[in-house]
Symmetry: C2
């Protein structure tokens, strides 16, 4: 998960401060105000990071007050009428708009300002406070597997989200859900997502059946090998260094629910988790979050901090970065050709009996399971489809909160084929709804699709990538992403960037090709 | 060190919100505004804590921007003209002032407001930013023992402090230094402190000579015993639990320079440091900071967060808490009668050859040394006198910054009797001046004196304390401090509280009696 915000970007460097200052003082002032607002907003990220990592239990109530105060003050800065005046002045300046990057920046600043000014400061403060408290309530309810305890909080949060969506304005589609989705995946609609998900499900369901029923299934040869957390952490750090996450501008800690958050232009924090009896699994969390982190580190924030040109396009694009590193790199044979000897060295004999094929098979075991974040590449999207359908129904009012556990379990059986034993492994497993992240889930699957589309193009551009990975060289991959995705900030919308970079609109084809291309040979089906 | 702010307190519970709301709406509104300002201010503490503990190196520049933005916004809340109006309304309300606690609260709120409104917001922001950057510069300069590299930063910080002092207004004494000292030790003056320090030095100097020259000196029997950090940390946590620092409302981490900071009414963070070859020394840092932390946890913040009635009186009183736990408890025979078996259990055989007398001797070794925070109880105050004299001369303009290292070394030789080998072990050893903490040092020695005065009174009130400590029971000590010191917040000024509680004004007699009473028998002099 990333706590980063949405967005589209730039031909960085063009819109430099020097010429702005001389020719476009209104643009320069606008950028300065946005930078100030972002600086204050980043303080909230620092508090959120601390809440998840180190805050003592007693600190929760005051933390909610701090976050709420900050959210309201940041909102006031973001909705300062002076910003509105400056946007208007920029929009009226043809010389300014002649530059594509500046024009894109202004377009997106307008979008953000128009959205922000629809929300009263008190609502923003209330959302910050309620979701901070709801998070603690969720933790407790999940530990006890007690949905009834969490239900009143979910009711509050969902009520606030509906209010927010209504204030944003119900879009042309008529679906309130789309107003929320738009925050994470600008201009996407639930109907569009459904049009992608339905045929994808129709292809994944039989594939999962084939894979789980295959005669020759790879074994989880890593199961039961106990490796101390410290050694796993050391391996994680080696991987971060190799793939290029800059630890001078970031760090890695441990939490229950892994995440990535940006505390400033040169301060990106990752978290992961360890299970001593699952010695390579945490690696997927680490690489996943590092993918988010390298996007944040690759955005042109030196020049454009706080402006759309320095921000991520959308959560779908953000997730394409994490998924690419986690799955397309991290579950590849080439990666482990380099990684296994490194892990063997750090794990002090524990892996010495394993060869590359065994580990490659183990990290690609497909198995129906209850927990989304532990699920494999093939079943993962089914978990997302479940959540998308449920949250859409909750927002639309077709599903009552009290009926959520039952409906979750029923649909889970239909989609994944298992009986959910308790809510801890069912509808209480994710923190998102407690956080107020409604409309966020579908971006995970969009991320998988974008990732595969980048991956195919990247290999077409650089046929030698596999050989490089096998030598522990990942610089070309990061460089390709830097140039083709990161450097643009929010200059282009997600779909536009996809077409620009790959020459084709987003499609599930590359995803299915990549997935089947790997799993069919491995499962001999 | 504590980063907590100055202050005098209350008969807590009297001034409850219910009756305020009915009878004194202006008082209630005033309290609400102060609470909001404190909540925002506490965010700065969270950022400061993170900067010292976990922030990656690259985060420094943006952190300075965040702190500076927050400082200016917090200052604006604290100097809101509405607060001035409400104070005036309260000061005119005889019914309100009839209650002693409320009257004290208003008196101190007036003091804080009068001081805060003397400073422009830009200066507050500049100080926050400069001291945040100066801290990083100091770290670097200290590591390289390069005073020349730090000098420009010290010049900037000292310039800002002189500006601040001038804006506060040079007090009746005519010394600019007093305007700064007043922030940490309200209404104290340099002349008063000198009048305490001079005779104290006249007694300490010959005592140190006697102790260091004694025939029968206890040995540092702990020297060279290597204990892993993890085991030392475990022992530190056992001690925290025993003495009563509430870990549900706080935590303990590791930093280069130990400190205690308050992130909210139920979130007090301690840091300590470990040296594997000095297995009980970190304990003194841990107990020291826990003393600060228990003061913070013992203040009536539930009722009075953000108000003087919920704040510490002064840094001298704050330091009396840390010193009492560190030295009077932590270096006592009774404490180790309990602590040594606990340490033996956790240190897995490493201490098995030692008996109580050896350890009691070892934690009370008196030795001339360069580093203040590593110095013993007898020489410690000489280190403080050095800093007090130097910072007073710097502020007064009698000492130029370029001459600081030379002057430090010359005075150090005179006071402690050693030749300083480099600035790392000389004038670059402390972070205080980089932080802008000028006028802070003398409060350490005041703390030692107050601590001994509490200690004597506490023993007179409860003669069974030693026996309890030897059983690991510290609740009566903490309870006495809670009742006599913590519960009052800033109701009384420091000197007033001392007279009220001990029946006598502050004096060096209890300190010298306690110190000599312990060391003379141990050194057989």
């Amino acid at each position: 998960m990333t706590t980063a915000h949405t967005s589209t970007t730039s031909d960085a460097g063009r819109a430099d401060a020097k010429s702005d200052s001389k020719d476009f003082p209104h643009y320069l002032e606008l950028r300065r105000l946005l930078r100030q607002a972002a600086t204050l907003g980043s303080v909230g990220s620092a508090l959120g990071w601390d809440q998840e990592t180190f805050m003592p239990a007693g600190g929760g109530a005051h933390r909610a007050d701090q976050l709420s105060t900050l959210a309201e003050m940041t909102h006031a800065k973001r909705t300062d009428p002076r910003i509105g005046e400056l946007i208007h002045a920029c929009e009226s300046d043809k010389n300014l708009l002649a530059d594509g990057a500046r024009a894109a920046n202004i377009r997106e600043i307008r979008r953000d300002y128009a959205r922000a000014t629809k929300l009263p400061g008190e609502l923003v403060a209330e959302i910050a406070k309620t979701t901070s408290l709801a998070q603690d309530a969720w933790k407790d309810a999940r530990a006890k597997s007690d949905f009834a305890q969490f239900a009143p909080w979910l009711t509050k949060v969902l009520g606030l989200m509906r209010t927010k969506g209504t204030l944003y304005g119900v879009p042309a589609s008529g679906e309130l859900y789309d107003a929320l989705l738009d925050e994470y995946e600008p201009s996407a609609t639930a109907a569009q997502i459904e049009a992608i998900f339905t045929p994808l499900q129709a292809r994944l369901t039989p594939l999962v059946a084939e894979l789980t029923g295959a005669k020759h299934r790879p074994l989880d040869a890593l199961k039961g090998i106990d490796v101390p957390q410290q050694q796993q952490h050391a391996f994680g750090l080696e991987v971060l260094k190799a793939i290029g996450f800059d630890l001078r501008r970031g760090r890695l800690d441990t939490t229950t629910h892994p995440f990535c958050t940006e505390l400033g232009p040169d301060d990106t924090r990752l978290t992961t988790r360890y299970n001593t009896s699952s010695c390579l699994e945490p690696l997927s969390s680490t690489m996943h979050e590092a993918g988010h982190g390298m996007y944040e580190q690759g955005l042109p924030k030196g020049e454009h901090y706080g402006e759309p040109l320095g921000e991520a396009i959308s959560l779908g694009i953000h997730e394409s970065q994490s998924r690419l590193w986690e799955n397309l790199v991290g579950r590849s044979r080439a990666f482990w050709a380099w990684g296994l000897p490194v892990a063997k060295g750090l794990y002090k004999g524990k892996l010495d009996h394993l060869n590359l094929e065994q580990v490659y098979g183990a990290v690609n075991v497909v198995e129906r399971s209850f927990i989304r974040v532990e699920s494999d590449e093939a079943t993962y999207n089914l978990h997302i489809m479940l959540r998308f359908g449920l949250e859409r129904a909750l927002v639309g009012g077709e599903l009552a909160i009290k009926d959520l556990p039952g409906e979750w379990n029923k649909r889970f059986k239909g989609l994944i084929g298992l009986d959910v034993p308790d809510d801890r492994r069912g509808c209480l497993q994710d923190v998102h709804w407690a956080f107020g992240l409604v409309g966020y889930f579908p971006t995970y699957t969009l991320g998988n699709l974008y990732a595969a589309q980048w991956w195919e193009k990247m290999h077409a551009d650089m046929p030698e990538l596999d050989a490089q990975m096998a030598r522990g060289e990942f610089g070309k991959i990061r460089g390709w992403l830097n140039t083709n995705v990161h450097a643009h900030g929010r200059h282009y919308h997600a779909g536009e960037l996809c077409e620009r970079v790959t020459g084709k609109p987003l499609s599930a084809e590359p995803y299915m090709r990549t997935l089947e291309g790997k799993l069919r040979p491995l499962y001999k089906i």
